[in-house]
C-alpha cells in the first residue's frame, strides 16, 4: 500500500536541494523597513503611530477592530519616517509605515527554552495572546490564526492538523523550521490543541523530508499518543488545506465550506513556532524564515528576515542575482508565487520564499488552441474543469464561470502546468474571479445609491 495522499495533482520538479541543506541564518538588521498595513486576509489595519513617532521593536503600530484581522508590530526600533502608499508584493499600492532603524536589536531571550507551563494557560489566554501577537497563517494566504481557533458556537473542532508538507517547489523554510525548531513546533502544536480544545493532532509531512519526520518524531518522544506524524506522498498541492485534510484524515471539506465544518483546523508549522515565541517570550510576529532560492540566485539561503525588509536587500545578502539575462522574481514559489515588477517591495508575514528564475524556464511561450485532452481535468485537485473555467473567465461569461464552480478553484496552477497547449488557464481563472468580484462590488454600490435615492 502506498503512502496517504489526495486524488489527482501533479509532480513538478521540486528543486529543493538548492536550499534544503542551508541552516536558517538571521539576516542583517535592515536600516529601513516598509510595513504594509495589509498583511493578512480580512480587514486592513489602521496606523496607531504617526510620522515622527519613535517606536520600539515589537511595539504594536497598527490594528483594527474587525473580527477577521491581526495587528501589526514594528519589526525594528527607530523612527517613523512616513506613512505612504508603497508597492505591495501581492500587487497594488497599499498604505505602509516606513521605519528608519536606530540599529539596535532587542533581546527577546528566544533561546531560553520553555518558560511558561502550558497547563497553566487557559484557552482564552492562548487565543488572546495569538491575536495580540499578530500571528497569521505563515504558509502564504495569511489568514489570522486567532480567527481559525475561534470556532463558531455549535461547531466542535476535534483535530488540529499541522501542515509540514511544503509542496511548493524550491521552498524549504518549513523544512528547516521542522529540523531546527522541532521542539518549538510540537509545543506550539499543543498550545493550538489546547486553544480550541481538540484532543487529536496530526502533523502531515511529505516523504521527501525524511529527516524532518525523524526530527518531529524525536521531539514528540516515544510515549506520545495524542499527536501523530503522518508521512504523505510527495505530490503537489499536498500542502493545500483541503488536500491535506483529505490525505491525513480522509475527510472531505464540502464545496464552499471551511475545514472548520468538518471539525478540523489546519496550521502551518511556521505558525506553530511563532506561537511558541509569542506565548513564551511575548515576542510578536516581527520576523519569519524566508527561503531565497531559484536558478537566478548566487547563494540560495534560508534567512530569518524582519517583516518589511525589501526583497532587494535580502537578495543582496544571498550573493545577489546572477549576471546576465532577464529574471523573474516571485513572491513565493514558482507554482503559486506572484511575479514582482520591482525589487523594493517588502517581505510580509505571508512571504515564505523569494524565487528568482532565469534562462529557459521563463521564456514566454506561445499558447495554442485547446485540444480537449482533459489533462487539466485529470490534474485539478478540486475536481473542476479548468479548460472551461479558463475560457469563461477570459471571455467574460461570468454566470457560466460561477455555475461551473470557478470560486472553488484554489489557484494551485496544476492546470496551467500540465496543459500541452501551454494555455494560461489559471491566469484566466484568476481574471474571471477578479471580474466577478468587481461586478459584485459595482452592483452593491448601485444598490446603495438606489437606496439613498429612495430614502430621499
Amino acid at each position: 500500500m502506498g503512502l496517504k495522499t489526495f486524488d489527482r495533482g501533479i509532480h513538478p520538479a521540486y528543486n529543493k536541494e538548492l536550499a534544503s541543506s542551508k541552516a536558517i541564518t538571521p539576516a542583517a538588521l535592515p536600516k529601513t523597513v516598509i510595513i504594509p498595513l495589509r498583511q493578512h486576509a480580512g480587514a486592513p489595519c489602521t496606523a496607531l503611530v504617526k510620522k515622527g513617532d519613535v517606536v520600539e521593536e515589537g511595539q504594536k503600530i497598527a490594528d483594527v477592530e474587525a473580527f477577521v484581522s491581526a495587528p501589526i508590530h514594528a519589526s525594528i526600533s527607530g523612527k517613523v519616517k512616513e506613512i505612504d502608499l508603497y508597492q505591495h508584493p501581492v500587487g497594488m499600492k497599499v498604505p505602509s509605515i516606513v521605519i528608519t532603524g536606530d540599529g539596535e536589536k532587542k533581546d527577546w531571550g528566544t533561546s531560553g527554552g520553555v518558560t511558561v507551563d502550558l497547563a497553566s494557560l487557559t484557552p482564552d489566554a492562548i487565543r488572546t495572546t495569538i491575536r495580540e501577537s499578530g500571528i497569521v497563517g505563515m504558509g502564504g494566504a495569511g489568514f489570522p490564526t486567532a480567527v481559525k481557533l475561534n470556532a463558531p458556537k455549535g461547531k466542535k473542532i476535534d483535530t488540529i492538523v499541522l501542515n509540514g508538507c511544503e509542496c511548493e517547489p524550491y521552498l524549504t523554510a518549513d523544512h528547516r523550521i521542522m529540523l531546527e525548531e522541532a521542539d518549538k513546533v510540537v509545543w506550539g502544536m499543543r498550545a493550538l490543541m489546547k486553544g480550541v480544545g481538540a484532543p487529536n493532532g496530526f502533523i502531515g509531512i511529505e516523504d521527501n523530508k525524511k529527516d524532518a519526520i525523524e526530527a518531529i518524531k524525536l521531539a514528540l518522544g516515544p510515549s506520545c499518543t495524542d499527536i501523530k506524524v503522518i508521512e504523505l506522498e510527495t505530490k503537489y498541492p499536498q500542502g493545500a488545506e483541503k488536500m491535506l485534510i483529505k490525505a491525513a484524515l480522509n475527510r472531505k471539506v464540502p464545496k464552499g465550506k471551511l475545514p472548520l465544518d468538518v471539525g478540523v483546523v489546519v496550521n502551518n508549522v511556521g505558525t506553530a513556532a511563532a506561537i511558541f515565541d509569542a506565548l513564551n517570550y511575548g515576542k510578536p510576529l516581527i520576523e519569519r524564515v524566508v527561503t531565497v532560492s531559484g536558478n537566478g540566485i548566487k547563494e540560495p539561503k534560508n534567512l530569518l528576515c524582519r517583516i518589511g525588509t525589501t526583497f532587494e536587500e535580502i537578495i543582496k545578502q544571498c550573493g545577489g542575482l546572477k549576471e546576465g539575462g532577464e529574471f523573474e522574481v516571485l513572491n513565493g514559489g514558482p507554482m503559486m508565487g506572484i511575479a514582482q515588477m520591482q525589487l523594493d517591495v517588502p517581505v510580509i508575514k505571508g512571504t515564505s520564499g523569494i524565487t528568482a528564475l532565469m534562462g529557459e524556464v521563463i521564456k514566454p511561450k506561445k499558447y495554442d488552441a485547446c485540444i480537449r485532452c482533459a489533462s487539466c481535468v485529470e490534474a485539478c485537485p478540486m475536481a473542476l474543469m479548468p479548460y472551461r473555467l479558463g475560457d469563461y473567465g477570459n471571455m467574460q461569461r461570468l454566470d457560466d464561470f460561477n455555475g461551473w464552480g470557478g470560486f472553488d478553484c484554489i489557484e494551485c496552477g496544476c492546470c496551467s502546468y500540465v496543459c500541452p497547449s501551454k494555455r494560461p488557464l489559471l491566469q484566466w481563472i484568476r481574471l474571471g474571479k477578479l471580474r466577478v468580484r468587481q461586478n459584485q462590488q459595482a452592483q452593491q454600490e448601485q444598490a446603495q445609491l438606489a437606496e439613498q435615492a429612495s430614502a430621499k
Partner: protein, 287 residues
C-alpha cells in the same frame, strides 16, 4: 387502380393541409404576440449597435423606454444629432438637450515618457496585467495593452506608436464601454464642453511620481494658482483635480505646468483620418 391511388393520396394530403391551415389561421389570430408597431419603427431608426450607452440594455429596450416617456430621444448617444431629431419629430417630444459625451484617456505616459521597470510577459490583457502591476514604474498609468480599444464597438479608438490608446474625436459616440473596460479607471467620460484636463492619475507624492514618468502630475499646484476661475482646480491625493461647475476656462492654468500634464483643448486634434495618416507615415518611415 392508378386513379384510385391518386385520389386517395390527394384527398388525404389535402385534408391534412386544410387542417393545418385552419390551425395556423387560428394560431395567427389568437396567439399573436402584440407588439407596438411604434417600438419596431423606433428600433429600426435607432443605430442598432446595442452599445448600452443610453443606460438600458439594447436599442429595442430604449425604444420602449422612449414610448413610455422614461427617456428622451437625446439619451441615444450613438445615433448622432440627425437620428435624435428625427425621433423627436416622430414622437412629437423635445429632443432633450444632452451634450455629446466623449471618452478622454487621462494618461500621457507612453513608452517614451514612463520608466519601464520590468517586462510584462503574461497574458496580453490589461486586467490580467494589473494583477501583478504590469511593467511600468507607475502603477496608476496606462498599461498599454489595449483592452479599451478592443471594447470599442465603433472603431473610435486606436493604439498609437507611443503605446497609448487614443480616442478619435470624430468617431466617439460616448457609450462608455472603454471607460468600463479600463482596470485603472484612466478613461473618463466628459461632455464635449470640457476642454481642460489633467492627464495623470498618479497619486504618489511629487518626487516619487517624477521618478517614474516625465509627464506625471507632481501636485505643485501652479495650475490651481494660475487658473482664471478661482477654486476650479484643487489638489486631491497628490493630483490636480478640475471642478467643471463654473467653466475653468484654461488658457492660463496650463502655462506654468512643469511637466505639461495639464493640457487645454487637445482632444479635438485626434481624428481617425489624421491618426491613420500618421500611422501610415510612421510605417513608411520605419519601413
Amino acid at each position: 387502380m392508378v386513379i384510385e391511388t391518386i385520389i386517395v393520396s390527394a384527398v388525404s394530403m389535402g385534408g391534412i393541409a386544410a387542417a393545418l391551415a385552419v390551425f395556423l389561421i387560428f394560431a395567427d389570430s389568437k396567439l399573436k404576440v402584440k407588439t407596438d408597431p411604434m417600438v419596431d419603427k423606433l428600433t429600426d431608426m435607432l443605430p442598432g449597435t446595442n452599445c448600452g450607452g443610453c443606460g438600458v440594455p439594447g436599442c429595442s429596450a430604449f425604444a420602449e423606454a422612449l414610448i413610455k416617456g422614461e427617456m428622451s430621444p437625446g439619451g441615444c448617444v450613438a445615433g448622432g444629432e440627425d437620428v435624435v431629431n428625427e425621433i423627436a419629430a416622430l414622437l412629437g417630444v423635445d429632443a432633450g438637450s444632452k451634450s455629446r459625451m466623449l471618452a478622454v484617456v487621462l494618461c500621457k505616459g507612453g513608452s517614451a515618457e514612463a520608466v519601464q521597470k520590468a517586462t510584462y510577459r503574461g497574458e496580453v490583457n490589461c486586467t490580467a496585467a494589473d494583477i501583478s502591476g504590469g511593467g511600468k514604474g507607475c502603477v496608476y498609468g496606462c498599461l498599454g495593452l489595449g483592452e479599451c480599444v478592443d471594447a470599442c464597438d465603433f472603431g473610435a479608438m486606436g493604439m498609437d506608436d507611443n503605446g497609448l490608446p487614443v480616442v478619435f474625436y470624430d468617431k466617439c459616440v460616448g457609450c462608455g464601454a472603454c471607460a468600463k473596460a479600463c482596470p485603472r479607471d484612466i478613461i473618463e467620460m466628459h461632455p464635449e464642453e470640457h476642454k481642460l484636463f489633467v492627464y495623470c492619475k498618479n497619486k504618489d507624492k511629487g518626487p516619487k511620481a517624477k521618478k517614474v514618468c516625465t509627464v506625471a502630475c507632481i501636485a505643485c499646484s501652479l495650475c490651481a494658482k494660475d487658473c482664471e476661475v478661482e477654486g476650479a482646480i484643487a489638489m486631491q491625493s497628490n493630483i490636480a483635480v478640475i471642478e467643471y461647475g463654473p467653466d475653468p476656462l484654461g488658457g492660463d492654468a496650463i502655462k506654468r505646468c512643469p511637466t505639461k500634464c495639464i493640457l487645454f483643448d487637445v482632444e479635438k486634434d485626434v481624428t481617425k483620418e489624421r491618426f491613420e495618416a500618421a500611422q501610415k507615415g510612421a510605417v513608411l518611415k520605419t519601413g
